[in-house]
């Protein structure tokens, strides 16, 4: 059982939901990312999703795009990111960590090399927004062999046959994209959200967490009623951006997390 699975078991016993935070690794710099991870642990975040920056993030809206560009300018690469996780584990940070990466950086790095190094560094899962499961069964098997969860997506346009397929291969949890669109805060939740989640929950018992467009406490409470967890990203990145030159950036982002959680 890896950290993600254990976390969901634990939450289930406590009858609680998973609060998952996404940040772009290396934004504004790796040192801040390291501090933010510790702050998230303090604030009781359940799982951290660490974004590997990519030059062409086609599932992301302007906020995450900008943070990725900034991280790339500072030459944040997979080695540096894995090293950051490794050091965090050495420092007894035991929070589940999933890497969110587009397919090409992993493919280019070498899939087996990536999985082995990720495992050795203490990564628990991978989320690849542009890799539907049928495109790379080898990678899924490889990740499974090293007990790294492959987390797949469902969206409002997924038909029942897809739900079954994704539910079958997704490990750790299923990432439900709340809307048709890219990442970024929205004022309102998508109107079909509750019905779609019910449809999915009827088909699978695996945890389903909702991301994309989630930006405030009210929305999160709504989602908790029906899903197993929530993922916030852009709203956190936005907060980082607003405080980018302040010495108390980490504290302020922590306060934002506290308000959402």
């Amino acid at each position: 059982m890896n950290r993600i699975e254990r976390k969901f078991k634990e939450l289930k016993i406590k009858n609680k939901k998973a609060f998952i935070v996404f940040i772009t690794c290396g934004y504004p710099d790796l040192d801040t990312t390291r501090k933010l991870i510790s702050e998230f642990v303090r604030q009781g975040v359940d799982i951290i999703e660490l974004g590997v920056p990519f030059s062409d993030p086609l599932a992301d809206g302007p906020v995450i795009q900008e943070s990725s560009q900034a991280a790339l300018k500072r030459k944040t690469d997979i080695n540096a990111i894995l090293n950051l996780v490794k050091i965090a584990r050495k420092n007894k940070i035991d929070i589940p960590i999933a890497l969110m990466s587009y397919y090409n950086p992993i493919f280019c790095y070498g899939r087996e090399r990536f999985i082995k190094k990720a495992k050795a560094s203490g990564v628990d899962g991978v989320i690849i927004p542009d890799m539907p499961p049928e495109e790379d069964r080898t990678f899924i098997k490889l990740a499974g062999k090293f007990n790294i969860d492959t987390i797949f997506f469902l969206s409002p346009t997924s038909l029942s046959s897809r739900i079954k397929l994704i539910a079958g291969v997704s490990k750790g949890f299923i990432y439900y994209v709340s809307l048709t669109g890219v990442t970024g805060p929205r004022k309102k939740l998508s109107p079909g959200l509750v019905d779609n989640l019910r449809r999915i929950k009827k088909i699978t018992a695996k945890p389903v967490c909702v991301g994309f467009g989630v930006s405030n406490r009210r929305q999160i409470k709504e989602i908790y009623k029906i899903a197993d967890g929530v993922i916030v990203g852009s709203v956190v990145i936005q907060k980082i951006k607003e405080n980018i030159n302040r010495s108390d950036l980490v504290k302020r982002v922590g306060a934002c997390i506290k308000k959402l959680h």
């Binding site: 493919f107 542009d130 897809r162 048709t180 669109g181």
Partner: protein, 393 residues
């Protein structure tokens, strides 16, 4: 027959897209299948290709050019004579008819040189569909005449400021739009790139030019050509020409990429010549990337070639040795541009000007009795701003 069921040409192709788009790609694939089986659809497409776009285009024997280069015969497939000035309309007509079958009310497209944008805006205007075109700000400046044309045709041109501000980022932005508006919108991709079934659909719609060329050369010369030469950005005109000759083993394919400031400069768009396998814009193909898989910014004087990716079927042709890919730089393309203008009275677009220049190199290597077909994918009107500047006319 490739691609296979999963959209692969050998190891290239596939569907590397966010989950939201899977449904739309499935819908497009099944609609395309049923359209192909529908006589009415085929008749309708033929009608518009003939009556509206101006097909068939001539296969013109360029006598002066042949003599000048010392090649037996060079034939030029005149896609530049089509309505809107390039081969792009072959594809947009086909795809707009598919969009109508799927009852989509809005069309989006990406464009580099603006030729695909114009061809998309044109068919959207004719069929009364709302149309938004994504174009990088750098291309908006260098291909401004095409921006005016799109606007006159009633399309909205959305400026893309991110990344390279050229075709790569326009494509990424168009994909983001599609993810958002997937239910109402059809995305007309302009080249043989993108997730399955796009590389197949665009190839099939562009194959009309290769099929025509094959019939025309057989009629005129009673034999098949020795070489097919075409420029490759994403690779749609080249694939349109090559594909119908695939089984004609004696016919050699040469794709000409953009070497920009030179292959050694790092500023080029020679994806097949210097790239390696990777994933961009929904498919696995050759790619220009750094050592961590970040996509590089391409460079070419020709906006239509200025792209760090390439169609997966080209990567496949390269991998099996069916086609050869070479590169021609900016300066050489300008030489090709002037050459065709001056000795044949045909002003080419900067994209096929790369292929024209390559004929000079090819002439030195091949048998004197060689028979060549060159695809003149578009005309040069759109490039006059750049050429006037560069050639100091």
């Amino acid at each position: 027959m490739l691609p296979n069921k999963k959209g692969y040409f050998g190891e290239f192709g596939g569907r590397f897209v966010p989950e939201t788009l899977i449904y739309a790609l499935n819908e497009l694939e099944s609609e395309y299948k049923s359209a192909l089986a529908d006589k009415k659809f085929i008749q309708q497409l033929d009608y518009y290709l003939k009556e509206y776009a101006g097909r068939p285009t001539p296969l013109y024997l360029a006598k002066t050019l042949s003599k000048y280069l010392g090649i037996y015969k060079i034939y030029i497939k005149r896609e530049d004579l089509l309505h809107t000035g390039a081969h792009k309309i072959n594809n947009t007509l086909g795809q707009v008819l598919l969009a109508l079958r799927m009852k989509k009310t809005r069309i989006i497209a990406e464009t580099g040189a603006g030729q695909h944008g114009v061809a998309t805006a044109t068919v959207a205007a004719m069929f009364g569909l709302k149309c938004d075109i994504y174009m990088g700000t750098e291309d908006i400046v260098r291909q401004r005449l095409n921006v005016f044309r799109m606007k006159l045709l009633g399309a909205k041109v959305i400026a893309v400021e991110t990344g390279s501000k050229t075709l790569k980022d326009a494509t990424t932005e168009a994909l983001r739009d599609w993810v958002t508006n997937v239910r109402s919108t059809h995305y007309i991709i302009g080249s043989v790139v993108g997730p399955h079934p796009y590389p197949m659909i665009v190839r099939d719609f562009q194959s009309v030019l290769g099929k025509e060329a094959r019939q025309q050369i057989l009629k005129k010369e009673k034999r098949l050509p020795d070489y097919l030469v075409a420029c490759v950005g994403g690779g749609s005109n080249a694939m349109g020409l090559f594909h119908p000759f695939f089984n004609d083993k004696g016919v050699k394919f040469i794709g000409v990429e953009a070497a920009g400031f030179g292959l050694a400069s790092g500023k080029h768009a020679a994806t097949l010549v210097l790239g390696r396998p990777g994933v961009l814009h929904g498919s696995k193909s050759d790619l220009l990337e750094d050592k961590f898989g970040q996509v590089k910014i391409a460079h070419s004087i020709a906006a239509g070639l200025d792209y760090p990716g390439v169609g997966p079927e080209h990567a496949y042709y390269k991998s099996i040795g069916r086609a050869k890919y070479v590169a021609v730089n900016d300066q050489q393309a300008l030489v090709g541009f002037s050459l065709l203008s001056e000795i044949e009275g045909i002003i080419p677009a900067l994209e096929p000007a790369h292929a024209i220049f390559y004929l000079k190199k090819l002439a030195k290597k091949i048998k004197k009795n060689s028979l060549i077909i060159l695809c003149l994918s578009g005309r040069g009107d759109k490039d006059l701003d750049i050429v006037i500047q560069r050639l100091k006319i």
